[in-house]
Symmetry: C2
Subunit: 325 residues, 2 copies
């Protein structure tokens, strides 16, 4: 592997001059510049970016932390982050945690080791305090709501979005409303539960815990839930499913187990994924790709100017009306 010293020698100049040519500095005579460029060409020399990162203290890389990579939810965010990162010439390092706190810590740790300039987290399992402590080493952006200072956040108002979904169903005369979420313990699931309680109480309706289905993430989960509903004595007549893939599973399961949609079961999905368009699924678009884009730009701004304080960005959602309600 040829290095700058050899180039300098071969061109009969100092390494400084080579460095100047490389970095398009002024004050290099035209003939030397040409000579150096020629030698660089001949050797197809390219500077070692490790060395440059070491000096500059920057890697132009951001770590993207997510629990797993086989779900369209995360793909949408990845796509958004990548799109923006590409524009600014940044790289994205994928960091899969499988919800393992040690793994998550290790990735956060890359901030301290300067392997990445910053971190975007889509799946926090560690306590906020620990995130805070790492934030000294570089900008951290989380894709969920937080009050924590020092942490930038890009998030959907899950409470509000859920309320509007339920209200949409209430407005259309549905009173037996249930919902499906992923991990019950997540902050967004808790916000949704509050939204559910409050909106139903306000409408004078009772809350049935049997109509709340947790651990509904993949298509197969949705299918199982459709089966359960088909067998219930007192089934819900409408369902909000947080994730279009799972919602698609419910639709397909409903078909299998003889439930007509939307007559016997109305469904609202989440995320406006391609599959929802295909199935004519009414869905709440929380604009995941935009969340990814904004997350990157929040990281980017603080990376350029470390004096910047953390920012919080609320991303608006939209209810896309189709024919599953």
């Amino acid at each position: 592997m040829v290095n700058i010293k050899q180039i300098a020698k071969q061109a009969g100049v100092s390494v400084t001059t080579v460095s100047r040519v490389l970095n398009h500095h002024p004050y290099v005579s035209e003939d030397k510049r040409l000579r150096v460029q020629q030698v660089i060409e001949q050797n197809s020399y390219t500077p070692n970016s490790q060395a440059i990162s070491l000096i500059r203290g920057k890697t132009r890389t951001v770590g993207l932390i997510l629990p797993f990579s086989h779900h369209p939810y995360y793909h949408a965010i990845i796509a958004g982050v990548m799109e923006e990162a590409y524009q600014y010439g940044y790289h994205v390092l994928l960091c899969q945690t499988s919800y393992n706190p040690d793994q998550e810590r290790e990735y956060l740790h890359m901030l301290s080791t300067r392997q990445v300039d910053g971190v975007i987290s889509c799946s926090r399992v560690l306590p906020w305090a620990e995130f805070q402590s790492y934030s000294e080493s570089g900008p951290i952006v989380v894709c969920e709501y937080t009050e924590e200072s020092n942490l930038s956040a890009v998030y959907t108002d899950h409470y509000d979005a859920f309320c509007s979904g339920i209200q949409y169903l209430l407005d259309r005369g549905y009173t037996r409303i249930g919902y499906c979420v992923g991990r019950k313990t997540s902050a967004s699931s808790q916000a949704r539960f509050r939204a559910y309680q409050n909106t139903l109480h306000a409408a004078g309706l009772e809350v049935y815990s049997e109509w709340i289905f947790p651990d509904c993430i993949h298509m197969s989960d949705g299918e199982q839930i459709a089966k359960q509903i088909a067998e219930m004595d007192k089934p819900p007549s409408a369902l909000i499913v947080t994730g279009d893939e799972a919602a698609a599973g419910v639709m397909l399961g409903a078909r299998q187990y003889g439930l007509r949609i939307p007559d016997q079961l109305a469904i609202i999905g989440y995320d406006n994924q391609p599959i929802s368009a295909g199935l004519q699924l009414t869905t709440i678009d929380q604009n995941l790709q935009e969340i990814g884009r904004q997350a990157f730009s929040l990281f980017y701004e603080r990376s350029l100017d470390p004096t910047l304080t953390s920012a919080k960005r609320l991303i608006p959602y939209t209810l896309i009306e189709r024919s599953s309600v």
Copy 2:
């Protein structure tokens, strides 16, 4: 940012000793080892991995080059690569090309700049010669068939897989067989065309070019094709669609435009994605996740032992029978 020198000073030892402790070398007295570890703890010091990479000449990172990141095909490969990389403590750098040759070249270039130890490519647009030239800087694995020396390859026998799909349809009495592919110019599409021609000719059937649909990648493409088929005077009675999402689009479109499946249109998908299970779609599983896993391990082996010659790995496919045929 505290460094090794400060730790050494604070512990009253040399940097060498600190380094030895860090790297679990023998020949460090127990008391010094403890003293150093304590100081490291106190300062929550972590070595700068840029510096280590610079010295070792290794980054423990592999670049994963793909055209775009919003398609389940690539997600399956990503998941496979990540799974294996995680096991060996490697990182994955996502490199999106959008089929742009300059972009692709730039990523290959990271090999020369030592930003990554190797590269896995899922989407070659540059000529083989250019890939070859970069292979001097580190192991390159491509996820397609190639004879090129120096390039490792993990691939499906697309010709064979397609033949078996067509034969499956022939065996069930279908004679009006068509197919959908993504980019017509890709090597796999060409192999499929040969498979199509040869298998049909062998069966004494004619090839209708109107039954070949290119640019069928997303769900919406599939829907459009279903529409076209519904409007054809002489429509195919069976279709192989290379990609389950697109195949799902065809199914949904068929439903919309009044084609019964499989009576009026039989469909075989590709990749055995979750959606195919949901829709009871018969599909050819080319085991994408395994392709990703093997691609990483091929990279890994050569990265450890650069004297190793390039390897080629054929990944077997499986036809998964469900009810769309």
